[in-house]
């Protein structure tokens, strides 16, 4: 058939994302008893939703391949920025207990600052100092949130 090519790559990927989630939820939901409409089990509603999502995914995918679909490419990805930002959050989670709030915040600020094209060491260090003092004042002493402030070895 003529014209059955992916014309709108953005929409095609969106539809595929819907379809993938639908399959994942449907297959997982097969473990849960469905019951009947009058007496639904925990598996009934998830299966219903997964089928709806799969149908939507298919419609979006087909729409992206229609000869009439406008051409649209996928946008460029900046994996560097994503990696610095996501990595800094994961490091914060991992280091909060061993290093305490001060150390974990320092790592979070320094690592995430690298995501900017305008990164300078002096700027980031100053920013870290200001923000750490601010956080201690607001969250630890002001609001009294239960946060480990110093490394656990010192306690």
């Amino acid at each position: 058939m003529k014209g059955l090519a992916i014309r709108n790559h953005r929409a095609f990927a969106s539809g595929a994302l819907f379809l993938a989630f639908a399959i994942f939820f449907f297959v997982t939901a097969l473990q849960y008893p469905a019951g009947t409409a009058a007496k639904m089990g925990p598996g009934y509603f998830p299966r219903l939703l997964a089928i709806v999502l799969a149908a939507i995914g298919l419609v979006v995918i087909l729409g992206a391949m229609k000869p009439a679909a406008g051409r649209e490419a996928l946008r460029a990805w900046d994996l560097n920025g994503l990696a610095w930002i996501t990595g800094s959050v994961i490091l914060f989670g991992a280091l909060l207990f061993p290093l305490g709030l001060v150390g974990a915040l320092f790592v979070l600020i320094m690592v995430s600052s690298r995501a900017s094209h305008e990164f300078t060491w002096i700027g980031a260090l100053t920013n870290a100092a200001v923000l750490i003092v601010l956080c201690l004042a607001v969250f630890v002493y002001g609001l009294g949130l239960p946060l480990p402030v110093w490394p656990s070895l010192l306690n």
Binding site: M40, P42, I56, F97, P146, L147
Partner: protein
């Protein structure tokens, strides 16, 4: 009269020193984040949610509401002075507001925006108070099938009004509902989609999800754009509109307020939609449409009144029916849940001081904003000179501490990291995240009501169509879908929702 009696209770609550302080704090913070581009009310409210544990429920909600409508004020300030919309609801204000500023009339534009917002805020407060009673009474008549139909209507309208293709918006709603099923099934007590991870037994908390998508992923997106701001700061003189200005802005304010009040109630509505609709209306009605884009005062007065009215009346469906009409309202559901208040018709009867206090605080907050904004314009504009490279690590820090504080555990921090990656994928695919969050928040209630309705009807799904209320709600949803499919309306919607 009942209304005045209730408002009296409200003002008594709102005027308590602690509540006044938190309203002030919320307005100040809201203005601040409204001024700063790249940080919206959504991320701020998500950040502050865990901290509100320590507050009284009314103080917490008063502060969070203040952030939302305060942001509308702050966003317009930067839109006018430096042509930079701090919030998406003030995008249209840049068109004529900045032109006025270039003509040396920044002061007039600012006071027009402030007066319009204040007027709209007063009217919306009254509308909220007047509509709350009847709507709550209606909601009390609702059974499971009516609530099910109402929420379906809300979600459909929210997808119709979100940007991008309608079918993708609906897909995001359904995906959000599926994500909401993670955790313990309340009917059977069994675990679903938890994969033996104990932290997931209570379900996916939406704060890490919102923070990952609207906080962290948004930062990655903003860093990609790194455009330099050129600030044209000028002395702001003469705040007072002339007699001619008044003659032109008053009708625009009245129309903007009416439009915003109506659109705010609509699910999926709120501040952004109201401001766009009002600008289009003013341009259509004006006898001098050619002046629009060149500093027409109506182009500031209308949208600025509309966005504030819309921001406030979007509380109506939340407080009376328990259905959040936009994502910020969905976060308010979270804030209420933290304090064990379940949004819906019972709020008014069970927590009258909270309900009316919140409404009255909005009026008080608007007064504070009027006083806070005009004299401090210079200070707000100075804030814009803070480079983004110092600002975003601060957002990272507050978000991370906020996420950790939900349960004093690091699991939520990792969850936010996962949703940061997911949010980035959504940005790249241009899929709207707001419907996802609404689906996530409404999912459990929809399943619950659906199951109850089916139990009551012994599994007969046609009962949804034979009860008059649920049938008309579902019919409205169907009409909305059919309308959106019509080619002409489709084209106009895409035009209107383009940012």
């Amino acid at each position: 009269m009942d209304l005045f009696h209730n408002l009296a209770i409200g003002f008594a609550t709102a005027a308590q020193p602690a509540n006044l302080l938190y309203a002030f704090f919320g307005c100040l913070l809201g203005t601040l984040i409204g001024v700063l581009p790249g940080l919206g009310p959504l991320a701020t409210i998500a950040m502050l949610l865990p901290i509100t544990y320590a507050l009284q429920p009314d103080a917490a909600l008063i502060m969070l509401a203040g952030i939302y409508y305060g942001a509308q004020y702050g966003g317009s300030t930067t839109a006018i002075v430096v042509n930079l919309p701090g919030e998406s609801s003030s995008v249209v204000t840049t068109i004529d507001g900045y032109q006025m500023a270039k003509q040396g009339r920044a002061g007039v534009a600012l006071s027009t925006a402030a007066i319009g917002s204040f007027f709209a805020g007063c009217v919306a407060t009254l509308a909220l108070a007047a509509l709350a009673g009847p709507l709550t009474a209606t909601a009390l008549l609702f059974g499971p099938k009516e609530f099910f139909a109402l929420m379906i209507l809300g979600l459909i309208l929210a997808s119709v009004l979100s940007s991008g293709p309608f079918i993708e918006g609906i897909g995001m709603v359904v995906l959000g509902m599926l994500l909401s099923l993670v955790g313990t099934d309340l009917n059977s007590g069994s675990q679903r989609f938890a994969f033996g991870i104990p932290q997931l037994f209570d379900g996916l908390d939406f704060v890490p999800l919102a923070m990952g998508i609207f906080g962290f992923a948004e930062i990655v997106k903003n860093l990609e754009q790194d455009d330099k701001l050129s600030l044209v700061t000028q002395k702001i003189t003469n705040l007072f509109p002339t007699r001619d200005d008044f003659r032109r802005m008053v009708p625009a304010m009245l129309r903007g307020t009416t439009l915003g009040t109506l659109l705010g109630v609509l699910p999926g509505g709120g501040a952004v939609l109201s401001s766009f609709a009002s600008y289009t209306l003013e341009k259509k009605l004006s006898r001098h449409p050619e002046q629009f884009g060149k500093g027409a005062i109506e182009g500031v007065a209308g949208p600025e009144s509309a966005n504030n009215a819309g921001a406030q009346t979007s509380f109506i469906p939340l407080l009376t029916l328990g259905v959040p009409s936009n994502v910020v309202m969905a976060l308010m559901v979270g804030a209420m849940n933290i304090h064990n208040i379940h949004p819906g018709p019972e709020v008014m009867t069970k927590n009258p001081t909270l309900f009316w206090g919140l409404i009255a605080s909005m009026w008080v907050g608007n007064l504070m904003l009027l006083i806070l904004n005009l004299p401090l314009v210079g200070l707000w504009v100075k804030l814009l000179t803070i480079p983004y490279r110092y600002l975003f690590p601060a957002i990272m820090v507050f978000c991370s501490i906020g996420v950790y504080s939900i349960n004093s555990g690091t699991f939520e921090v990792y969850e936010a990291a996962v949703f940061c990656v997911f949010g980035y994928i959504l940005i790249k695919l241009q899929l709207p995240a707001a419907p996802l969050l609404l689906g996530l928040v409404l999912g459990p209630a929809i399943e619950e009501n659906f199951r109850r309705a089916m139990v009551l009807s012994r599994g007969d799904a046609t009962v949804l169509l034979t009860s008059p209320i649920s049938a008309s709600l579902l019919a409205a949803a169907a009409i909305a879908i059919i309308l959106i499919m019509l080619p002409t309306i489709r084209a106009r919607r895409e035009e209107a929702l383009q940012e």
